[in-house]
């Protein structure tokens, strides 16, 4: 089973990387008012179904993939 985990800096958390990217995009002439830079993790896992995959992903996020103090996560599971 394939899954994608999106990790973002939480709302209200300073994201200096996003600010720097925004500044550069503005230099290129784009009217960009905000940029936040996160992380994409694509993975393939063994699971007995979407629910089992979801449970595993939740644990992966809380134990390693994200730091809940500063990051929020979303994940997507592809059935095929």
């Amino acid at each position: 089973m394939k899954a994608t985990v999106l990790v973002r800096p939480k709302d209200g958390i300073l994201d200096p990387q996003g600010e720097a990217v925004q500044g550069s995009l503005r230099k290129l002439g784009f009217a960009v008012s905000q940029v936040r830079v996160g992380r994409v993790i694509d993975l393939e896992l063994e699971a007995e179904g979407p629910n089992h995959a979801r449970m595993q992903l939740e644990r992966m996020c809380s134990e390693l993939l994200a730091n809940p103090l500063i990051e929020s996560v979303q994940f997507r599971i592809e059935d095929a």
Partner: protein, 234 residues
């Protein structure tokens, strides 16, 4: 009296482990390098230092991988028994990721790697790490990091302040990296685990600009001797 054993944990990518061991040795300890894959601490360990560097290449988040190393289980157990644990720079990041210390270390506000001497103010002198300092004393110690902006949410920040867990702050209004409350070092609730961004092991000789870091490390050596003695009598 025998020199107290201080274990310095070495992760792949640690690079201040030998400096820390050298400094601890110069201050009277018997430093023992402990590879991250080890499950047990050296016999008679009285204190542990998690050194600076870039463990696991800082992949994912600084310290995120290192917290899962077998040696960290031993560190966790040692800390739960009151053993003194000092995390320097990447060691601080690892302790936060391992939830042995509150907060997280974010990329520096200015997005630059900062490498210079800073003055840090001692807020508490009744910890095993600051027992050779006085409250209000300013220590000159170098920093060198890209991700040292310590952060916690506001409620927790107030709570930590009230409990006296903020032990070191950047002095004189120096906004070094965007760290919340100018925090340079925090302790856990029981006061036996300290993490700090400055590198005391690089400030143990006046020839190198400052010996102030030696005050913190010598206190760790004192604490190691006491802890090892207490363990030997159990």
């Amino acid at each position: 009296m025998a020199r107290p054993v201080v274990a310095v944990v070495v992760f792949p990518g640690s690079n201040d482990d030998r400096d820390a061991a050298w400094a601890l040795g110069a201050l009277g300890a018997e430093p023992v390098l402990l590879w991250h894959d080890e499950h047990e601490l050296p016999p008679g360990t009285g204190a542990i230092v998690l050194p600076g560097g870039f463990s696991y290449g800082d992949y994912l988040r600084c310290g995120a991988m290192a917290k899962l190393a077998p040696a960290m289980s031993a560190v966790r157990q040692f800390a739960s028994l009151g053993g003194p644990v000092l995390g320097i720079c990447n060691g601080f990041q690892i302790l936060c990721e391992a939830k042995l210390l509150p907060g997280a270390l974010r990329p520096n506000r200015q997005l630059e790697f900062v490498c210079r001497d800073v003055a840090v103010r001692v807020e508490r002198a009744d910890t095993p790490f600051t027992s050779r300092c006085e409250v209000g004393q300013e220590l000159v110690i170098p920093i060198k990091h890209g991700e040292g902006a310590w952060y916690v949410d506001e409620g927790r920040f107030m709570q930590l302040g009230a409990r006296g867990q903020i032990v070191l702050r950047y002095a004189g209004g120096d906004d070094v990296n965007g760290s919340l409350g100018a925090v340079a070092g925090v302790v856990n609730e029981t006061g036996n685990v300290l993490g700090l961004m400055p590198h005391p092991e690089h400030a143990v000789d006046p020839l190198l600009g400052s010996a102030d870091g030696g005050l913190l490390l010598a206190a760790v050596v004192d604490a190691a001797a006491e802890h090892a003695f207490a363990l030997s009598r159990r």
